[in-house]
């Protein structure tokens, strides 16, 4: 089982993300500067808007999804609403949604395990998880999650009982998916915040369990 690595590196996969070159001004970095400055000069965007958008992105992350998961674990009525209409329940819990996409929450049970992928690009429930990790956008994950989900799960260290059904969700249009993981045993004494701290990003994508 590989540990999570927090940096890109050249792996055997030729499509692995390349290392960052923070100190070099690549063609594409120049392109970003050029386009941004032109748009600001033309009055289409302001520097403040860009800064706010980056800050808003930075403020979004798995802690939001974890909050919804923990709330669903302790509040059956909220869980029912979350599974019925993910966007509405998330907004009720104070998580802002994006237009036009909608949030669908899919529940793991002892009988059913859910796994989320976007084979066409990188659709991801940003409103509750932030921006996706590199592997989610990788050729390997996008190619294989749909036709060999159990093998992919095994690579993440996730072994499922043979009798469990695996449901894969390919995010091909305007729906975004959040997996509601099963609550770990022995957590009866924890409050909502304590429970939320246990919920990992990967468990909400469905590649791992808790």
């Amino acid at each position: 089982m590989m540990d999570n690595i927090s940096h890109s590196h050249e792996g055997p996969d030729p499509h692995a993300p390349r290392p960052d070159h923070d100190d070099t001004l690549t063609h594409h970095k120049r392109l970003e500067i050029a386009v941004r400055e032109l748009l600001i000069e033309k009055g289409i965007l302001t520097a403040d808007e860009i800064r706010e958008a980056v800050e808003r992105m930075d403020a979004r992350g798995p802690h939001l999804g974890a909050k919804l998961v923990a709330k669903a674990w302790v509040d059956p009525a909220f869980k029912a609403r979350l599974l019925e209409n993910g966007s509405a329940a998330a907004e009720e819990a104070g998580v802002q949604m994006d237009q036009p996409t909608r949030l669908i929450v899919v529940e793991n049970t002892p009988q059913v395990h859910n796994l989320v992928v976007c084979t066409l690009c990188s659709c991801y429930p940003r409103m509750v998880l932030g921006i996706p990790p590199d592997w989610y956008k990788s050729r390997a994950y996008r190619s294989r999650a749909v036709h060999e989900p159990r093998a992919v799960l095994a690579e993440f260290g996730t072994q499922l009982a043979d009798e469990a059904t695996v449901r894969v969700h390919d995010s091909t249009a305007d729906m975004r998916y959040l997996v509601l993981p099963m609550r770990p045993k022995g957590t009866e004494g924890l409050d909502e915040a304590g429970l939320a701290a246990l919920v990992t990003r990967d468990s909400m994508i469905g590649v791992t369990t808790l």
């Binding site: 965007l45 860009i50 190619s143 294989r144």
Partner: protein, 106 residues
């Protein structure tokens, strides 16, 4: 022809659990897309079409946000929001800046 982006079901190697902290320039590319689509300058589907039609091996050779900024630039030129001449002049200006990359703005 099956699109280069349309990967579901193809053979591929193991999933390498790589991630990196997104750099500021990458976050800004993302922000440009969020803002431009919110202001109805162009749509996320135009962005995707541009990425899907990148030439040759660019889809696999470029990083994620390199693909995005390429596509955003094409869409803005296509829509007439910016011109090729403006872009050329701005890139040349950036090249000439004395102390390397200075975004100037935030």
């Amino acid at each position: 022809m099956r699109g280069v982006h349309d990967m579901g079901g193809l053979q591929a190697g193991p999933v390498e659990r790589v991630e990196h902290d997104y750099q500021l320039w990458e976050k800004r590319v993302d922000a440009l897309m969020v803002l431009l689509s919110r202001k109805r300058r162009f749509t996320v589907d135009e962005l995707r079409k541009g990425i899907e039609s990148l030439p040759g091996d660019a889809y696999d050779r470029l990083t994620y946000y390199e693909r995005w900024i390429s596509s955003i630039t094409s869409a803005l030129i296509h829509r007439g929001t910016i011109t090729i001449d403006e872009l050329r002049a701005k890139l040349a200006d950036i090249e000439r800046r004395p102390d390397g990359p200075k975004a100037g703005t935030p």
